[in-house]
C-alpha cells in the first residue's frame, strides 16, 4: 500500500507520455508494482470503513481539516471560552456605531454598536447548526431517494424522480414563509426552524446528483460481478455502487454546507430569516450589507469565519472521498 494514494502519481506520467514516447508505460521505479502486486497475508481483510480509516489517519489534508472542524465545534459549543464579551447579555451601544478596533474589541463595532468579534464567536453556533444539520438531513433524505431511484430504475425511478421534480419546483421563499408561521415555529424561530425549511426544500438537488451518480455505476462490471457472486441487490448497492458513486455526492454536500449557511443570510435579506435576536453569521452579514460602502469590516469577518468552516469541510470531503472511493484509492 502506498502512502501517496492520490491520483496524480499514476495519472500524470501516463498522460505526459506522449512527449516521451519511449516511456509510454511509466517507469517501473515510478510505479510501485511490487506494492500493488504484493498480497498482504499478514492482515485479515479490512472492512470498507476500516480501510478508509487507515487511509484517513495518514493524510495531512484530513488532519488539518479535522483540526479546523474541532475548533469550529468548540467555538459553537462553548463560545464563552473564546470571547470575554457576551453579546446576548450586554446590549450594543449606538455610541460605538461603526467604531474601529479598540481594547477588548479587536474587530471593531457594527452599525448598531455591537462588538464584531463577540458576535462572530457567538454566531457560530446557529450558523454551524444550520449548515451541518441541514447537510446531514439532505444527505439522508436526498441520498436515499436518489440512490433508490437510480439503482432500481423503472417504476421506482418514475415515482421518486417525479416527486423530486415536484419538490424541486416549490419556491423556497413560499415554503419558508409557510413553514415559519406554523404554530410550533411562530413564536420561537431558531436555527432549527431554518434546518427544517432548508432541508425540506434542499434535498431534491442532492437526490438528483445521487441518482445520476448511481445510474452511472450500477451497470459497471464489478457490480455485475458482485451480483453473480451472490451479493444481494441491497448489498451490492451499499458495498459496491454507493462507494463508487460517492465523489459527486461529497462534493455537492460539502459545498452545500456553505450554501445553507449563506441561504440563511439571503432569507434574512428577503425578510424571512432568523429573528434579529438570534445571533448568526448570516444575520450579521445581512445587517452589515447596508453599510457596506462605508464600513465593510463587519461584513468581512463573519464571511471569513464562514469561509474557513466551508474550507475545512471541503478538505474533509476530499480526504473522505479519497479514502472511501475505490476509484481514487489504490493499494
Amino acid at each position: 500500500m502506498t502512502p501517496e494514494n492520490n491520483t496524480p502519481r499514476h495519472g500524470a506520467p501516463a498522460v505526459r507520455a506522449r512527449r516521451q514516447m519511449e516511456h509510454f508505460v511509466a517507469d517501473v521505479a515510478e510505479t510501485p508494482l511490487q506494492a500493488t502486486d504484493k498480497v498482504r497475508e499478514d492482515n485479515a481483510p479490512l472492512s470498507l470503513w476500516g480501510e478508509a480509516w487507515r487511509n484517513l489517519r495518514r493524510q495531512p489534508l484530513f488532519l488539518i481539516a479535522a483540526f479546523l472542524i474541532l475548533v469550529v465545534m468548540a467555538v459553537s459549543l462553548f463560545p464563552g471560552l473564546f470571547s470575554p464579551v457576551d453579546p446576548s447579555s450586554e446590549a450594543c451601544q449606538l455610541a460605538n456605531s461603526d467604531g474601529g478596533p479598540a481594547a477588548g474589541h479587536p474587530l471593531g463595532y457594527t452599525q448598531q454598536g455591537c462588538d464584531v468579534y463577540a458576535r462572530v464567536i457567538f454566531g457560530t453556533r446557529s450558523s454551524v447548526t444550520v449548515g451541518l444539520f441541514t447537510t446531514l438531513a439532505v444527505l439522508l433524505v436526498g441520498g436515499i431517494i436518489g440512490a433508490l431511484a437510480g439503482y432500481y430504475g423503472g417504476w421506482v425511478d418514475a415515482i421518486l424522480a417525479r416527486i423530486n421534480d415536484i419538490f424541486f419546483a416549490l419556491p423556497l421563499i413560499l415554503g419558508a414563509i409557510v413553514v415559519m408561521q406554523l404554530p410550533m415555529f411562530r413564536a420561537n424561530r431558531t436555527a432549527w426552524t431554518l434546518v427544517v425549511i432548508l432541508a425540506t426544500f434542499g434535498w431534491p438537488q442532492l437526490a438528483r446528483i445521487t441518482r445520476g451518480a448511481v445510474l452511472e455505476v450500477r451497470n459497471a462490471d464489478f457490480v455485475m460481478a458482485a451480483r453473480s457472486l451472490g451479493v444481494s441487490r441491497v448489498g451490492a448497492l451499499l458495498r459496491h455502487v454507493l462507494p463508487n458513486a460517492l465523489a459527486p455526492i461529497v462534493v455537492v454536500a460539502t459545498i452545500s454546507l456553505g450554501t445553507f449557511i449563506v441561504a440563511e443570510s439571503t432569507l434574512s435579506f428577503l425578510g424571512i430569516g432568523l429573528p434579529p435576536s438570534v445571533m448568526s453569521w448570516g444575520n450579521d452579514i445581512q445587517a452589515a450589507q447596508s453599510s457596506l460602502r462605508s464600513n465593510p469590516m463587519p461584513l468581512l469577518y463573519p464571511a471569513i469565519a464562514l469561509s474557513i468552516t466551508v474550507l475545512s469541510f471541503i478538505m474533509l470531503g476530499d480526504a473522505l472521498r479519497d479514502a472511501l472511493d475505490p476509484k481514487a484509492r489504490k493499494r
Binding site: L94, A95, Q112, G113, I177, P276
Partner: protein, 546 residues
C-alpha cells in the same frame, strides 16, 4: 393614506403606511430657482408597479398613486406647502361645515374631449362609494350623507343622497355631520372626476386611463413591470403646468438598484435615497440632493388590550418606554439625519403644527425619569422579569430592522428588561394580527398624510373604534376634544382644539411617536429645478433639463 405593498415606501413610513399622495402645485424649486431650464427634456424617475387597475378611487398605494395624481386634476390640488388651491373648482363654499356648494370651472375637458361638469363629479363619487363597484378607496366618501346605504355589503343603491347636481357647473354636498376640514380632503385622488367610459368599463379604463391632469398617458405608455410613460396634456391650464416634455416612471423592485441607476445617470430623479446609501449619497451626488420634512411620521403602537399595558401601570410603562428611546441618537446614527425626532403625533409641515405642546417632554430621552416611571408602574403591577417585550415589524420591505434593533438595544440598556424585535415575514401577516387584535407586543406604526390636516393624523388612528386604531385606544375625553376640533368654525380654531386633544395623547401615549419623515432624494446632473411637495413626492411637473 396610501401605502406601498411592494416597495420602498413601506419602509420609509408607517405601518402600513406609507403613503405618499403625489400631488402638489407649482412652487420655487431648489437648485436654480424656477428660472429657465430645458423644457424639452423627458424626465426619467423611479416608480413601482401599480397593484390595481389605474382607477383613481381604486388606487391606494404609491406606485399607482403617483401616476394618478399626474393624470388627473381634482377640485383642488395642494401647493408645495400643502395649502389647497383650486384646480377644477371655481369655488367651494360651506359656512356650517356640513353643507357645501361647489362650483366647477367652465370648459373643462378630459383628454378624450368629454366635458367635465358638476354631474361628472357626482357620478364619479357615487361610483367610488357604491359597494357593487368594489373600489378600494371608497371609504373616502364616508362623511357624505347616504354613503352608508350605497356602501353596505350587497347594496344595489348606486347613489349617495348627499350629492345633488344643481346645474351644469354646480353641485351640493351634504355631510352626515359638520367636519371643518372636509374641503381639505378634496385634493386626494379618490375625489377626481373620471370620464363616463370609465364607469362603464373600469377594467379597460384601468389599463389606459384618460384624465384631465397635467399629463396624459403616452400611446402604449404602460409597459407592465417596466415603465409608465406620461406626456404633457396640452389642454391643461391649472396650477401644475408641465415644464418638461414628459415624465417616465421606470419601475424598480428595490431602491438600491434605482440608486445605482441614478449614479450612472440612467435615472434623473430618485424620490427616496435607500438606507444603504445614506452614508455616501452626499459625497456621491454633491448638491444634487434634497432634505425636506414632509407629512409623515413613525411610531410604535402598544395595544391597551395587553394586561401589562392597560390602566395606570400601562400608561406609566409607555411613558418609560418613550423616555428611554434616544431619538436624536437613532436619527443621527441609523438614518444619517434622514428623520427628525418627533415632538408630537402629527408632522411639522402641517398648518397648525406645534412642537411645544404640553406633554411633549415625554418624547425626550431621559434615562433617569424613564427608570423612575418604570419603577412606579412596577409598584402598581409587577413586570414579570422573564417576559420579553417585543416590537413587531414587517420584514419584507422597508428596512425597519435597523431602527427597531436600535430601539431594542436602547430599551435594554436603559430599562434593563428583555426586549426583542419581532419580524413578520409579510406585511399582510402583520396586518392580520393588528386587525384581529391578537398582537402580543408593540407594533411599528406610523402615518403618511392623505391630505394636509392635523385631524388626518389623529382621528383615523386614535378615536375610539377608529379603523386604524391598532392600539385599541379608547378615551372619551380625547374623542370629545377631536369632535370639538371638527366642529370649530375656522381652521385655526380647529387646529388649536386638535393640539389640545394631543395633550391627552402625549400623556396616554397609545402610540409612541419616534420621528418625522424627511424626504431625502437625489437627482442626476441632467436635470434641475427639483423640489418636493408637502407629501414627500417630487414636483415632477416642475423639473426641467439642464
Amino acid at each position: 393614506m396610501r401605502f406601498s405593498r411592494t416597495s420602498k415606501a413601506l419602509g420609509m413610513a408607517a405601518i402600513a403606511a406609507l403613503a405618499l399622495t403625489g400631488c402638489g402645485a407649482g412652487g420655487p424649486a431648489a437648485g436654480g430657482g424656477s428660472t429657465g431650464g430645458d423644457t424639452s427634456k423627458v424626465i426619467l424617475v423611479d416608480g413601482s408597479e401599480p397593484q390595481r387597475p389605474l382607477m383613481p378611487a381604486d388606487t391606494n398605494e404609491v406606485g399607482g398613486g403617483k401616476v394618478m395624481q399626474m393624470m388627473f386634476a381634482g377640485l383642488v390640488s395642494y401647493d408645495p406647502s400643502g395649502k389647497p388651491v383650486n384646480e377644477v373648482a371655481e369655488s367651494i363654499e360651506g359656512k356650517d361645515g356640513q353643507n357645501f356648494t361647489i362650483k366647477v370651472k367652465k370648459d373643462q375637458k378630459f383628454t378624450n374631449g368629454e366635458a367635465i361638469t358638476a354631474k361628472t363629479f357626482v357620478d364619479s363619487w357615487n361610483f367610488g362609494a357604491a359597494a357593487k363597484n368594489a373600489q378600494l378607496s371608497g371609504s373616502f366618501f364616508e362623511s357624505i350623507k347616504g354613503y352608508d346605504g350605497a356602501s353596505a355589503e350587497g347594496s344595489t343603491v348606486e347613489t349617495m343622497s348627499g350629492l345633488k347636481v344643481v346645474d351644469d357647473q354646480t353641485f351640493t354636498v351634504a355631510l352626515k355631520q359638520p367636519e371643518s376640514d372636509w374641503p381639505l380632503r378634496l385634493g386626494y385622488t379618490a375625489f377626481v372626476p373620471v370620464p363616463s367610459g370609465a364607469l362603464k368599463d373600469p377594467k379597460a379604463f384601468g389599463e389606459k386611463p384618460v384624465g384631465n391632469g397635467p399629463y396624459k398617458m403616452a400611446d402604449g405608455g404602460w409597459q407592465h413591470n417596466v415603465q409608465i410613460q406620461l406626456v404633457p396634456n396640452p389642454d391643461y391650464n391649472g396650477p401644475r403646468k408641465p415644464k418638461n416634455a414628459g415624465v417616465t416612471f421606470k419601475i424598480f423592485q428595490n431602491d438600491d438598484a434605482a440608486y445605482q441607476d441614478l449614479l450612472s445617470n440612467n435615472l434623473d430623479v430618485l424620490q427616496v435615497i435607500p438606507t444603504s446609501a445614506l452614508k455616501n449619497f452626499k459625497s456621491d451626488l454633491g448638491d444634487r440632493t434634497i432634505n425636506k420634512p414632509y407629512a409623515g411620521n413613525q411610531t410604535i403602537a402598544i395595544p391597551e388590550y395587553l394586561p401589562e399595558w392597560s390602566g395606570e401601570a400601562g400608561k406609566l410603562r409607555r411613558q418609560a418606554i418613550s423616555m428611554a428611546i434616544n431619538r436624536d441618537e437613532i436619527t443621527k446614527v441609523i438614518f444619517s439625519s434622514a428623520r427628525q425626532p418627533a415632538k408630537d403625533f402629527t408632522a411639522p409641515v402641517l398648518d397648525g403644527y406645534s412642537g411645544s405642546i404640553p406633554g411633549s417632554e415625554n418624547l425626550v430621552f431621559d434615562a433617569a425619569k424613564a427608570k423612575d416611571a418604570w419603577a412606579k408602574a412596577d409598584a402598581i403591577q409587577k413586570w414579570d422579569a422573564d417576559k420579553t417585550f417585543t416590537i413587531a415589524y414587517n420584514a419584507d420591505k422597508g428596512g425597519h430592522k435597523a431602527w427597531v434593533e436600535a430601539v431594542v438595544n436602547q430599551l435594554k440598556n436603559t430599562l434593563g428588561i428583555k426586549v426583542e424585535g419581532k419580524p413578520y415575514a409579510t406585511f399582510k401577516e402583520s396586518r392580520d394580527d393588528a386587525t384581529a387584535k391578537t398582537l402580543t407586543g408593540a407594533i411599528r406604526a406610523g402615518w403618511q398624510a392623505d391630505y394636509p390636516s392635523l385631524y388626518n393624523f389623529l382621528g383615523p388612528i386614535y378615536k375610539t373604534g377608529a379603523g386604524s386604531n391598532d392600539a385599541s385606544y379608547a378615551n372619551p375625553v380625547f374623542d370629545k376634544a377631536i369632535a370639538d376640533g371638527l366642529n370649530a368654525s375656522s381652521v385655526s380654531d380647529g387646529n388649536k382644539a386638535m393640539n389640545k386633544a394631543q395633550e391627552i395623547l402625549l400623556t396616554d401615549l397609545p402610540a409612541i411617536p419616534l420621528w418625522y419623515q424627511v424626504a431625502q432624494g437625489g437627482w442626476s446632473d441632467k436635470v434641475t429645478n427639483v423640489d418636493y411637495g408637502w407629501d414627500g413626492v417630487p414636483l415632477y411637473y416642475d423639473i426641467t433639463g439642464k
